[in-house]
């Protein structure tokens, strides 16, 4: 019997597909359903000069702090209950991110959409009159060819070399479901990318994807996906509803540690110098100490 190909990989296999200087889109939203196991692995790798595209949370903070980011494309970076992401804030204030493109949230989506549709731009109002157009002089306006003659923002495509997203369930072929409240923009990240890698809480067989879950939750189709990796608790410490909510206690520990160089060194040594299994073990033992 013929079946679609098996795309299962390990975390290290995914990182081995990445190259210096690539543009990498990271799915999720702020501190929600981020592919953190893959982010942690990139942080440990020798990769450099990356362009990171993200509705940012700790993914952005961790990669900026590690000096991985040459260019950052974002609309915000926040941990929600900790409004300002401390490592991102430090990186900006110390001038250690060489290039930034701060966009309106909707422009960011439109840029991904233009890339997904292989268009040179898509028009929108957002950005007009704001300093987004001043701080991003490469973004131009376009005049409507119709009678209204309006001058709109011509949002350029945000083309990704690679997209990384984290889903609740996936099959070995790359079909994947989200079971939480919001799909965020994970399908769009995949469509805007040459290649997309999906990490997931649980690998199931294809039939299992629609057991107890409506077909509308199948956000990602295998035509968009190059590889799948099972990373249980892989979005930690961000949300992965309903598998788990945000680890607020650990997030506070992260934010508090980030505020002090000595505490940060200890945090990085304990949680970030080890592989994913080591990370999960360290988090478990940290919770037991609390």
């Amino acid at each position: 019997m013929t079946t679609p190909r098996d795309k299962r990989m390990t975390i290290d296999d995914v990182v081995a597909e990445l190259k210096d200087g690539m543009t990498i889109g990271i799915g999720g939203w702020g501190p929600r359903r981020k592919p953190m196991a893959l982010v942690r692995a990139i942080r440990r790798s020798g990769l450099q000069d990356l362009t990171i595209v993200s509705y940012g949370g700790a993914d952005v903070g961790l990669l900026c702090q590690a000096g991985k980011v040459k260019r950052l494309v974002y609309a915000f970076v926040s941990l929600d209950t900790v409004p300002l992401e401390p490592l991102f804030q430090q990186a900006r204030q110390n001038g250690t991110i060489p290039e930034v493109a701060e966009l309106d949230e909707g422009m960011f989506q439109t840029g991904l959409r233009a890339a997904a549709q292989r268009l040179p731009f898509l028009p929108m109002r957002s950005g007009l009159g704001s300093d987004v157009l001043v701080n991003n002089p490469d973004i131009k306006t376009v005049t409507s060819p119709y009678d209204d003659g309006e001058d709109l923002v011509a949002v350029p495509p945000i083309k990704l070399d690679v997209a990384l997203v984290h889903m609740n369930c996936a099959d070995m072929h790359g079909n994947a479901t989200y079971l939480g409240p919001d799909p965020y923009f994970d399908d769009l990240f995949c469509l805007a990318a040459d290649r997309a890698f999906v990490s997931c809480e649980q690998m199931v067989d294809t039939a299992g994807l629609t057991v107890d879950s409506p077909v509308q939750r199948l956000l990602i189709s295998r035509i968009m996906v190059s590889g799948v990796v099972e990373t249980p608790n892989g979005a930690h410490f961000t949300t992965c509803t309903p598998d788990y909510e945000r680890d607020e206690k650990f997030q506070r520990h992260y934010a508090k540690s980030a505020a002090d160089p000595e505490a940060w060194a200890a945090f990085a040594e304990r949680f970030l110098s080890v592989d994913e299994q080591g990370y999960q073990d360290a988090v478990r033992s940290w919770h037991e100490e609390q």
Binding site: F76, Q89, D104, R125, S126
Partner: protein
Amino acid sequence: MDATRAEVCAAAVADAFKDDGEIFASPMGLIPTLGARLCKLTSNPDLLISDGESLFLGGVPPLGEKADVVEGWIPFRRVFDVVAYGKRHVMMGATQIDRHGNQNISAIGDFARPKRQLLGVRGAPGNTVNNRTSYWVPKHSTRTFIEQVDVVSGVGPARAKEAGSAASRFNDIHRVVTNLGVLDVGGEGGTLRLLSVHPGVTVDEVREASGCEIQVGADVGESREPSMQELILIREVLDPKSLRDREVPA
């Protein structure tokens, strides 16, 4: 029953939403959420409110609690659809706001190397050229109200006009509610204008707490006190834990 300052602010927020009809009210932060929910329970039951995540709420739950009835799905991608559609009134925060009604939540100082990095512009540029936008300032001060913001995130009327009809067509900066009073951008050339001061606050106090000129009309009145019904809704239904007092101390 004397109203606290926080309760006067909540009523002022409610009034900002009362003439909106059947639209999506997007309050950011505690007092805006309290005020929008108060509005839905009193002057504008047609308002659509959300849990701030992905659900339209059928009922009007207290702050921090989930609703038992859901009347729709509003994930972030559909929020952006409604922004462009226009039937939305967002009340955002403002780390800085200037005389021309421009708002900043991006960064303080030079954008290239900020003195203090804030959230980023978030949806402010898109909100202000697409749907009605108001601001909530819990601490009216000379650091917040300034001559010119460092990074224009939310666009005021003069900048929108300058950017052309596509920007000004739906630019609608409605109210700025602060702990001292209520303002709009009805001043000369679309500049800040004081509409009312909260009970116990003088016009001079507002002037002293502002780092830019604010136009004061001849008819500046006192912000209204919440009604008895509103006070009962605030104290016993929407915010029995008095979370509001943490944002605007009594």
